[in-house]
Amino acid sequence: MSEAQAPLEAARSAAAGAAQFAGSDSRRYNYFEPKGRKATHYEDMTVDVQPDPSRYLLQDWIISFADGTPTYSQTWTKALSSDWHAFRAIDQEWERTHYQRQSTIVGMIAGAVENGRRAGVWKRFDQAWIKVLQNHLGAFKHAEFGLGTSTMHAQRYGYTQMINSAILTNSSYKLRFAQDLTLYLSELALDIPTLDLDAGKQHWLESPIWQPARRAVETIGGATDFLEQYFAVNAVFEPLVAELFRSGFVMQVAAAQNDFLTPTVVAAAEGDYQRNLANAVELFQLLAHDPQHGEHNQALLGGWLEQHGALAIAAAKSLQPIWSLPHVKTAQFNDALDNAIERTRTIASQIGLAASASLAA
């Protein structure tokens, strides 16, 4: 046996460490800079999966739209970045964590609703409250759906995998919650035959209380800039309208109407939003503090805050009559609105934006 052949016989195993040779210990993805000292699992699963001609895409994008726009284009948002690849989602979501979290929420809601129904919770619901759930929680589910479809649309347009995946999971959370509400009301209707399941959509489409909210949601859906959609959802509509309704009304008022169940269902969306918000703030504060384009971006985001903020404030104020509907009044609309405005100002400040005139209560 020659010397050259000897190691071949030794290396029968194909397991790590069975032989030492050049590159045999290179066991980390080495083509991107981790945000921290070591790459997280999320980064390994995510970074550079969507390629970029400015990094490794040697041959550039190889199919274009008829007007010459390539498969991905930085022109799909007016925001500018000196490094689109810098963003990392705060929630570090990849497929396994996403399913674990979504599945946990589904199980939590299913368990709560099942037990609540078995305990006959609906028998103790205040009658006026049942109407509120029917008409207004029923209307609100369409707002959640609108935010879900907008983010579903937006996840096509981001310039990196990190941005698009954060928007994708945002959409997944919103659409799940819209369905959670739909199915929760449908199951309540099994026990409360008078509960009209079509009334919510009718309110969403026709009630003056909900028309400004619908206008605000449709305006987000009509935006052609995907980051404007993502910004308007998380930095504007969620805190000013959605959270106002969920936390400022349902979560605070339900218990006093003998309803312990609805807050459990609605709480899931508050948890979702914390994560979506953290991701959005991280992205927009990066843009607002971009070394080359920070000023431009601040003006742009400020404009979006102004435009969508005005619509959202109008939507929020229009919801005021809902606070008067329950028999037992445990929350004041003005307090809730003040909290929502303060919350939105804090978000704007975290991003690095000056207070918007539209946020003057």
Partner: protein, 558 residues
């Protein structure tokens, strides 16, 4: 406990049916009246009929199901390590996973992006949840595949090539065909890309060879991980096939769409065949160490999955809706597989280009020859000597096959349309588009570039149709580069700065591995650039010579 009494019977209470749940969910949408929805990318198709959702998809049953599937996948990966899978796995197989898993996450995530387009274009909301699930599925597939690749990198004897995976994907001369595949899902006419190319053809026909045939071969090579991951992936695909078919049925409803459907089915079938069969056919036939003569060859698998399952039971029934199915295209693809040795010739191309890829390709041996001859009679006469030459030239310091004067191989032209090499020499063709000469592997690829990807199709304006763009010809990028300089530029050098990442063998020993010094002085040239520089007469002669093919020189002693 009484007979027949179960926990479920005790605790169950009346709920809403799946059909009712799906109906309620579909009512979440509305037609905006204050501001119209932002349009997605354009299409030349007319969509007016709402697609149905026969599967009644609901998210609250989806997420727990997926979590359970994930638990099984990740549990199996742990079990594979405890069972010392890598002690017995075939390195020949795992090496090809460096290529396959570099490519596949991007097509997956591109499919997720496509759901944005379909969600906006499809009338009504009934199929919205189906598109949403598919969007999250594709996110699942992309990241679960990145995870599998990382797992190989951490546990397989030679991690080099896995460690630069996404960088390699963007650069390699072979992965370029995967990029064409993925960009085809989401660029150009939105329905052509996202529904016909992706859903109706890739998902419905070719995921079977990708995600069912591949895992079988992996298992034969001692790799239990890939089957675990990919059969889990494939279990999602049946829903995607359903989504695609539902939207197809709503598109087919309008006779105005039939001409475009006929065009897109031709383009999508042919290009999926050219790309998927090139990559997966080569991996299954040449990446395996298992030569069981009772197993199906790739051609036999193709006949089962593509011809019997897809063509006969999916494509043919479309004729009753008035869609012209080009039976001759399917026959031509089949001929390429069994009469024209498409896969075997592609495997040659991958092999001779080994210095500019990022995984190891070892020579086929006598044991392999016997199997190939059994499955593809006549194989040895055409390809046996090639692989003997390849084995000889795998020693460091030998002249690389590409530049070697002894063996007779002629590097192929690249097809401008599918980006695969034009390996079936007699089918090679050229054409002029916008005053420039292009090369194609086949008449249908010529048609795809010149006729299908244009602003007009058979007299009908098609303003939404995409265009081929970018530096599509990989060889042109490195035209007139020194080979070693190109390899350095690609980044396909190991951490010592001199040993090549790719190797033409499976010797895990520094003394027998190629370094930059072994490559010698050779210049890469693009056949297409050279063709364009020729005079018309020289070009005509070159094309005739090319079509005549080449003959591998007899290997000494055989």
């Amino acid at each position: 406990m009484s007979d027949g009494l179960t926990l479920n019977k005790i605790t169950s209470q009346k709920g809403i049916s799946v059909a009712e749940a799906a109906r309620r969910i579909a009512d979440l949408g509305w037609t905006p009246s204050y501001v119209q929805e932002a349009m997605t990318f354009p299409t030349d198709y007319k969509l007016s009929k709402s697609p149905r959702d026969p599967m009644k998809q609901v998210l609250r049953s989806y997420f727990p199901m997926q979590e359970e599937k994930d638990n099984r996948v990740y549990g199996a990966l742990d079990a594979a390590l405890r069972g010392d899978m890598f002690r017995n796995v075939e390195p020949r197989w795992i090496e090809w996973m460096k290529l396959f898993l570099a490519i596949i996450p991007f097509p997956e995530i591109s499919a997720a992006r496509s759901m944005s387009m379909l969600g906006r274009l499809a009338p009504g909301e009934e199929l919205r949840t189906g598109f949403t699930m598919q969007m999250v599925d594709e996110f699942r597939h992309s990241t679960i595949q990145m995870n599998l690749k990382k797992w190989y990198m951490e546990n397989y004897i030679d991690p080099s090539g896995f460690d630069i995976t996404e960088a390699a994907f963007g650069r390699c001369y072979a992965t370029t065909i995967g990029r064409q595949f993925a960009e085809g899902f989401l660029t150009g006419d939105a329905v052509t890309a996202a529904n016909v190319y992706l859903q109706v053809v890739a998902e419905t026909a070719f995921t079977n060879t990708l995600f069912v045939a591949m895992p079988s071969e992996a298992a034969r090579n001692g790799d239990y991980a890939l089957p675990t991951v990919f059969l889990s992936v494939q279990s999602d695909e049946s829903r995607h096939i359903g989504n695609g078919h539902s939207l197809l049925m709503s598109v087919i409803n309008d006779p105005d769409n039939h001409l475009l459907l006929e065009r897109d089915l031709r383009y999508a079938f042919w290009q999926n065949h050219a790309i998927v069969d090139a990559a997966i056919g080569t991996i299954i036939e040449y990446g395996t160490a298992n030569r069981d003569k009772h197993k199906e060859s790739y051609a036999e698998l193709w006949h089962r999955w593509i011809y019997e399952d897809y063509y006969r039971t999916y494509m043919l029934p479309l004729e009753k809706y008035g869609i012209k199915i080009h039976h001759d295209d399917i026959a031509a693809a089949w001929d390429r597989m069994v009469k024209k040795n498409y896969v075997h010739k592609i495997a040659q191309f991958f092999a001779v280009g080994w210095p500019v890829n990022f995984w190891r390709i070892e020579a086929q041996t006598d044991k392999d020859f016997e199997w190939f001859e059994h499955k593809y009679p006549g194989w040895y006469a055409e390809f046996g000597d090639f692989w003997r030459w390849y084995g000889k030239k795998s020693e460091p310091g030998e002249t690389n096959m590409l530049f070697d004067q002894d063996n007779g191989y002629v590097y192929p032209h690249r097809c401008w349309s599918c980006l695969c090499p034009c390996v079936i020499r007699e089918d090679f063709c050229c054409d002029e588009v916008d005053g420039e000469i292009y090369t194609y592997c086949s008449e249908l690829c010529r048609w795809t570039h010149k006729v299908a990807f244009a602003s007009e199709y058979e007299g009908r304006p098609t303003p939404a149709m995409g265009r081929f763009s970018g530096r599509r010809n990989w060889e042109e990028v490195y035209h007139n580069w020194d080979l070693a300089e190109a390899v350095k530029d690609l980044g396909f050098v190991r951490s010592d700065g001199r040993t090549l990442m790719p190797q033409p063998h499976l010797r895990f020993d520094d003394r027998r591995m190629w370094t930059l010094d072994h490559l010698g002085k050779h210049t890469i040239q693009s056949p297409m650039v050279l063709l364009r520089e020729m005079s018309p007469a020289d070009r005509e002669k070159h094309i005739a010579d090319y079509r005549a093919g080449f003959k591998i020189q007899p290997f000494p002693g055989h």
